[in-house]
């Protein structure tokens, strides 16, 4: 599904950030929407060249465009330039203090295209708008799981319904960690390798524990018990213990899971009554820290072991024919 961003919503969010003022908007922005995250500088489109023109993107007019538009009106040569208004353009944003010909604004109004202006520096405007648009249009998905911040590591606990995800999260929160989302986690891809999760319905502090009903962790444990969003770094997959399944014994091989095409390390954890998953979850988070810093316990252990065997081998060879 392709999301679109209503212009009015965009303006509401961005206006205080870059001090956006309305130049002409007679309710034009209602019903208009932005289709993608590109902030387009029309450039050649103003000359009447429309090949690959991103007409459904927000259009940014900076000093070059303004000068060109003004010159065209001055020279009464606006036939090609005005064609741009025939497209379904969401809105024009004028950047800078340079005056734009009123006739251009009138021509836009004729086609009901809203025009806004900001006097903030170009880089700032470009950066703020792009980052807002990219954020809005970032790919996102929902997963069934529980996201907890454990020692600063975003731990996504997954597994079948009623396997005990919420109980583990509750246990972790009780031990000082912070809940991000329970049951439905909305995950957004913020960058090529960065996933950020938050509560699906923005109900962060609420969770259901079977037998107790709905709880509000913020009220019970205080504001330290929750956090609004967190980067997802690690997945713990809870599984019912099965005798015939082989579980990881060494930790030399890394398992992983792909969410929105981002590969996350995954630990498959068989559970059974009486097993303290909370401490294991904390340990997994800390061990992940170590791995990030370049330390792998299994690899270190193996290195030691091989060194020891090499030493013994040499000693045995030396002593082999030593009969004195």
């Amino acid at each position: 599904m392709n999301r679109t961003l209503p212009v009015s919503q965009f303006i509401k969010h961005i206006q205080h950030v870059i001090n956006l003022k309305t130049v002409s908007d007679n309710n034009y922005s209602n019903g208009r929407s932005i289709a993608n995250s590109i902030l387009n500088k029309p450039g050649l489109a103003l000359t009447g060249y429309f090949k690959d023109f991103n007409s459904s993107s927000l259009q940014l007019l900076a000093s070059t465009e303004i000068s060109f538009i003004n010159d065209q009106y001055e020279a009464k040569n606006t036939r090609d330039m005005k064609k741009i208004c025939d497209f379904d353009i969401p809105a024009f944003i004028i950047q800078g203090r340079k005056k734009i010909d009123q006739r251009f604004i009138d021509d836009c109004a004729l086609k009901k295209i809203p025009v806004f202006r900001t006097t903030k520096p170009f880089q700032k405007v470009y950066g703020e708008i792009t980052s807002y648009l990219e954020d809005f249009f970032a790919p996102s998905t929902q997963v069934h799981g529980t996201l907890v911040d454990v020692y600063g590591t975003g731990l996504l606990i997954m597994g079948r319904s009623s396997i005990g995800k919420s109980e583990i999260a509750l246990d972790l929160v009780e031990r000082g960690h912070r809940l991000v989302a329970d049951d439905v986690v909305t995950i957004q891809k913020k960058d090529e390798n960065v996933l950020v999760g938050k509560s699906g319905g923005e109900y962060t502090p609420f969770m259901e524990i079977r037998g107790l009903g709905i709880l509000n962790l913020k009220e019970i444990f205080g504001t330290r018990a929750i956090r609004v969003q967190k980067r997802v770094e690690l997945v713990i997959q809870l599984e019912d213990w099965k005798k015939e399944i082989e579980y990881e014994r060494l930790g030399l091989e890394d398992d992983s899971i792909k969410i929105l095409d981002v590969e996350l390390p995954r630990v498959k954890l068989p559970i059974f009554p009486g097993k303290n998953i909370t401490v294991i979850a904390e340990t997994i988070a800390l061990n992940h820290h170590l791995k990030v810093y370049g330390y792998n316990a299994a690899a270190e252990f193996n290195k030691l072991l091989m060194k020891k065997m090499k030493r013994k081998e040499k000693l045995n060879k030396y002593l082999d024919k030593d009969y004195e």
Partner: protein, 88 residues
């Protein structure tokens, strides 16, 4: 109960990965499996124990299996060791 001496022939010896493969096999059997080397006896279903032996190339370990499926288990262990733990 059956006992047999087996020589480790792979060049890196019984390090982490071979130990994991060995434990995977022994864990699949119901019989008790113990390995002895240089007066050290360990349970062959425990990975830390098996690695603790630090059985280098050319060293000889004693495998002891006891239980209903001891014959099959010992056969599998020997096959793994003699195939250099499928490492080389």
């Amino acid at each position: 109960m059956i006992t047999e001496n087996v020589q480790i022939i792979n060049s890196l010896g019984l390090h982490a990965r071979p130990a994991a493969r060995l434990v995977k096999i022994t864990s699949g059997y119901d019989c008790d499996v113990f390995i002895t080397k240089d007066d050290m006896e360990v349970n062959a279903k425990s990975i830390m124990g098996v690695m603790m032996l630090a059985a280098e190339q050319d060293s000889v370990i004693t495998v002891k299996c006891s239980g209903p499926d001891e014959n099959e288990c010992l056969k599998d262990i020997k096959e793994l060791i003699n195939n250099k733990f499928y490492e080389e």
